[in-house]
């Protein structure tokens, strides 16, 4: 009986080579989802390819034009980067909600994305940031808009033998802010019943210049909510806007009844959370006037 083979290549090309070699090979970053799935006998792979020794997956690059985050960076590492946390506080607060203190030292931003749970905490925040996902495979490197990356529960836009190398976020303009909130019945160690990510940039007069709103756990994949964005654009987040935002979020929901929440409940809470998240993003944007 063949055992489980483990490889830890140093280059992107070597990793692609290994993935192409064995059918059903799995990519390992932090392992906080993968190892649990193996233990629970949900999967039984013959090969695991650890990408943590590949330099590109393990660094944060901040330039005047973009921010590049390696896929195998952990939540704890991202939270310790003050420059990044100042630019994208919502993305950081989202990755810092994944798992317990101990799990945060292992779980990675790329892994959270690739696990493709509709309830993944980082994904709505990543979508709201306008990130692109950098993917490498036998055909070369390509970029996928974050909102197009999750395809279904457990399924992503990755083609055979591709893997995520990094995420590229824009550098936010002046007067910008983002935020992420989730609802769980407990305070931690739980999975979002609803998650909401909002990023906004304001004009000098305090009206909304651009916005992105994303919801998690209310549909088969995290959603970019166009109507909610329209509700925000040009507004000053007054009560009428908040009511429109609430409704747009509820209308976008297409959830299921499951062990974590009911359709009715998730839909209601989605509206509440989007309002609250937008208010935090707005406040951050107002403080970022320099």
């Amino acid at each position: 009986m063949a055992g489980l083979r483990y490889e830890a290549p140093n280059t992107v090309d070597a990793a692609i080579g290994l993935l192409s070699e064995v059918a059903g090979a799995k990519v390992l970053a932090g392992g906080t989802d993968l190892l649990v799935q193996i233990r629970e006998e949900m999967i039984d792979p013959d090969l695991i390819v650890d990408i943590k020794r590949i330099d590109e997956t393990r660094r944060i690059e901040i330039t005047p034009d973009y921010v590049k985050i390696g896929a195998a960076m952990t939540g704890a590492e991202l939270g310790e980067n003050e420059e990044l946390a100042a630019m994208w506080p919502g993305v950081i607060e989202a990755v810092e909600l994944i798992g317990s203190w101990q799990v945060q030292g292992r779980a990675t931003i790329g892994g959270n994305l690739c696990n493709a749970s509709p309830a993944a905490d980082s994904v709505p925040a990543i979508i709201a940031s306008g990130a692109k996902i950098v993917v490498a495979g036998p055909q070369g490197v390509r970029e996928i808009p974050a909102e197009e990356f999750p395809k279904a529960p457990g399924r992503t836009a990755l083609e055979a033998n591709e893997f995520v190398v990094s995420l590229v976020l824009p550098v936010p303009p002046k007067r910008s802010g983002d935020a992420y909130l989730r609802f769980i019945p407990r305070t931690e160690m739980d999975i979002a019943v609803v998650g909401a990510g909002v990023s906004v940039s304001l004009n000098e007069d305090g009206t909304c210049a651009s916005a992105r709103v994303a919801l998690g756990a209310v549909a088969p994949t995290a959603l970019l909510v166009k109507d909610a964005i329209d509700a925000l654009l040009g507004s000053k987040l007054d009560d009428v806007t908040l009511e429109k935002l609430d409704k747009a979020a509820r209308d976008a929901c297409n959830p299921i009844d499951d062990k974590r929440g009911t359709i009715e409940y998730r839909t209601k809470v989605a509206g509440v959370l989007v309002r609250r998240t937008a208010a935090i993003a707005w406040e951050r944007a107002q403080k970022q006037n320099g």
């Binding site: 233990r39 629970e40 931690e188 009911t262 409940y265 809470v269």
Partner: protein, 765 residues
């Protein structure tokens, strides 16, 4: 560390008892040296995995293990064919039901599988991974049967029947149709009808609650090793290795003396480890292979196949006079025993109304089988749900009459000399002292903020005493070893050595306690029923006093005086009466050194059936804040007030009080089993079985009340169970007070709270 707040009437000036001392098992636990269930590794050991039923209810048509057995590395497979069968137990049944027909089928399904996760076969292989793969190769043909999960539905005619041989007990004429209702227990006194007529107000309500798991951190783990001469050694995570021995001996038809069972260190039990699950299969596999077999259950297996406490459906009706006097009370409750009879109905009957004198009262508690894992004990089994129903209605009566809830309870509180509905005549008890302490606690009248509600509840629990043995050996350097047979789950080794050191008058660090195996000591019942510090503590005191007697004899021998003229004080033998002050005292250390050359080894032992454990009372005050838009709940303040009799080790008593409160918070707010339409459990891990985590709860305030138990040498009352009894009630009442609407259904999870708030808004409009 808290400052161990206390109030009460306790006297006595002790050096160790009542003080916080270093925990003897602490260093090993914080360094990882302590050996738990899965830390035992033996040479040549095989690994066991179980095949479990994917169906809630199905007839087993066939089991084919040949492919699994043919795999390389697989050494043996066992099914029900390897488990001795037993006839159904016959009435009369006591308060607890023991039926080896049921037990043999619970540990390995025979004719039918009765719940998702029910064990069907077990494989022993050279590695765990091979065992897992072999389990998948076992082919079982099932005929799927309709299933039932709700206890009330299961008790109605026409429900799917789990046991064709089970007819409801106590009915005349004997029923012709089998039933899931095994029996109804209860009590009655006075004249109910008249009582309700004489009441100024009668409130009737319905309640329901979900089964909740004990949630011990350490999943069940054991290693069994059987030898060619029929001896069986077993290492297992258990609350009672002597009880495990009895069950295994009877189940497997083997002499009790053939077993040597050792209790590992235990990572929590809360009642859940008071029976056997995977041990018989591990032993049978070891017998078949001649090799040690180890089994470690996964969390998913623990949740699917080990007993939680029962879920409940309850109807209750209480009548009172305007001045708060309780006049009549009537309660009926359906408990879901799980796949086999034996829900804690006897305890429910005692829990509804026992804190109060109610002249006209009745309880009826139904023990009903459903397609869920067989319920197991869980910290005050049967009490919290019954207590919730009674306490919620009493609070409501107080509100209607405009009375203070504690004052109303004080008006009806039981005291020494009163007899409970179930016939317990109370000795010195602390019901009034606990209520007074609650009333005077700053929390009770502290102002609440917006969106917050407060709940108050009182709980009653009648403790167990029972069988305990202990032996003490004085070593010739003046140190003492204590051999105990009740697994240490909440710090009992610390309390035992405090009592032994107190008796002997020596430094506590000179006493080394150990929990020993079943071949090394007389019988011990479980560490359960809040009995250990009480009963085993008494045995330790007796054993230590036997040593003191022997030391006094030795001193008398040396002094050439009569033993009546020697007394023991503060670690020394002193000459008394006419010799007082005339001879130089002997220290314990001197006497211990003399013993080998004179009287020989000095030891004491005690085997007892402890009586008089008595009742204790626990009050709790809970403040819950509600998020008005999401229905999310946050416990913001919680206070536990408990009569501990005497707290031997105050820190551990506080730990029990806080732990019970936290379990009650989980029970009331978020914990539940979620089954799909086919009766399969969906939330099989701690991610979705939502027990509270540390950040979910505030620091739990504690107030230890000490009304000493006259039956115990140091006044001990049990403290393990009472802190859970009123906890779900206090929390649930707080939630209802916060939203201003009755819900009556646990858990009060955010979707249910939000729906109740929406309904309340609609009603207001």
């Amino acid at each position: 560390m808290s400052d161990n707040q206390k109030s009460g009437v306790v006297g006595g000036n002790y050096r160790w008892v009542g003080n916080n001392t270093r925990r003897p098992d602490g260093v090993d636990k914080v360094t990882g040296r302590a050996r738990y269930g899965d830390d035992m590794v033996l040479p040549g050991m095989l690994h066991m995995r179980m095949l479990r039923s994917p169906h809630a209810h199905a007839r087993i048509l066939s089991i084919d293990t040949s492919d699994a057995e043919a795999m390389k590395g697989v050494k043996a497979v066992v099914t029900h064919k390897d488990v001795p069968d037993h006839p159904p137990a016959k009435p009369p049944f006591g308060p607890a039901v023991s039926d080896f027909h049921d037990l043999s089928r619970n540990i390995m399904a025979r004719e039918k599988v009765l719940y998702d996760g029910h064990a069907v076969a077990a494989v022993a292989a050279t590695t765990e991974s091979i065992a897992k793969r072999a389990v998948r190769k076992i082919k079982v043909e099932y005929e799927i049967l309709p299933h039932v999960l709700d206890p009330y539905e299961a008790a109605q005619a026409g429900a799917p029947i789990l046991h064709e041989h089970q007819f409801t007990l106590g009915l005349e004429p004997k029923p012709k149709e089998p039933s899931n209702l095994f029996r109804t227990l209860g009590g009655e006194q006075g004249n109910l009808e008249q009582g309700f007529e004489n009441s100024d107000l009668v409130i009737e309500r319905e309640f329901s609650s979900q089964p909740v798991h004990q949630g011990y951190i350490e999943p069940l783990a054991c290693v069994a090793s059987s030898s060619e001469d029929g001896a069986v050694e077993l290492w297992t995570s258990t609350q009672g290795h002597f009880v495990a021995r009895t069950l295994l001996s009877r189940l497997l038809n083997l002499d009790m003396s053939k077993f040597r069972v050792t209790a590992s260190e235990i990572g929590g039990g809360f009642g859940g480890k008071t029976t056997i699950y995977h041990e018989p299969a591990a032993i049978l596999l070891s017998m078949k292979t001649g090799r040690p077999v180890r089994s470690v259950m996964t969390r998913g297996e623990v949740l699917r196949a080990t007993g939680p406490t029962v879920g409940s459906v309850c109807r209750i009706k209480i009548g009172a006079k305007k001045d708060g006097t309780l006049v009549a009370a009537d309660a009926e409750i359906w408990y879901q025993a799980g796949a086999f009879k034996g829900g804690p109905v006897a305890r429910a009957t005692d829990s509804f109304f026992s804190p109060y004198k109610i002249p006209n009262a009745r309880t009826a508690c139904h023990d009903v089988c459903v397609n869920r894992p067989k319920a197991a004990a869980y910290r005050a089994p049967g009490a919290p749900m019954a207590t919730w129903a009674a306490e919620a209605v009493i609070n409501e009566l107080a509100t209607e009459f405009g009375l203070d809830p504690v004052e109303m309870r004080l008006k009806n509180a039981v005291k020494e000399g009163d007899t409970s509905l179930m016939g317990t005549k109370h000795g010195r008890i602390g019901c009034i002292e606990v209520l007074e302490a609650a009333k005077n606690h700053p929390h009770y009248n502290a102002p609440l903020k917006k969106n917050q509600g407060r709940g108050f509840a009182l709980g009653y629990w009648l403790h167990g005493g029972g069988l305990s043995s202990a032996s003490a050996n004085l070593l010739d350097d003046g140190t003492l070893t204590l051999a105990l047979g009740t697994p240490d789950i909440g710090g009992s080794r610390s309390s035992m050595r405090a009592m032994a050191a107190e008796e002997l008058g020596i430094d506590i660090e000179l006493v080394k306690p150990a929990v020993v195996d079943t071949a090394s000591l007389g019988y011990n019942h479980l560490t359960a029923g809040s009995r250990t510090t009480y009963a085993t503590g008494m045995a330790v005191v007796n054993a230590t006093r036997e040593i003191i007697e022997k030391l006094c004899s030795l001193a008398a021998f040396k002094w050439e005086i009569s033993v009546e003229e020697v007394r023991w004080d503060s670690g020394e033998a002193l000459p008394a009466d006419k010799y007082a002050g005339k001879l130089k005292p002997f220290s314990l250390k001197q006497l211990a050194k003399m013993a080998p050359g004179t009287v020989g080894p000095i030891a004491g032992h005690s085997e007892i059936n402890a009586k008089g454990a008595g009742a204790s009372f626990c009050a709790q005050i809970s403040d819950i804040e509600i998020d008005p838009e999401t229905g999310g709940t946050s416990p913001v303040r919680h206070t536990v007030i408990l009569d501990a009799g005497r707290a031997i080790s105050p820190d551990y008593v506080e730990g029990q009080m806080q732990g019970g409160a936290v379990q009650g918070i989980g029970w009331a707010l978020n914990e539940e089993y979620i089954y799909d339409d086919n009766g399969r459990l969906l939330n099989t891990g701690f991610l979705d079985y939502r027990m509270p985590v540390a950040s979910d709860v505030p620091m739990i305030d504690t107030l230890i009340v000490e009304v000493p138990n006259p039956k115990h040498p140091y006044g001990v009352r049990g403290v393990g169970e009472p802190p859970l009894v009123p906890a779900p009630a206090a929390v649930a009442i707080a939630v209802e007070n916060a939203i201003g609407r009755r819900m009556g259904d646990l858990p009060m999870s955010p979707p249910k709270v939000l729906a109740a708030m929406d309904a309340q808004k609609l009603a207001a409009e």
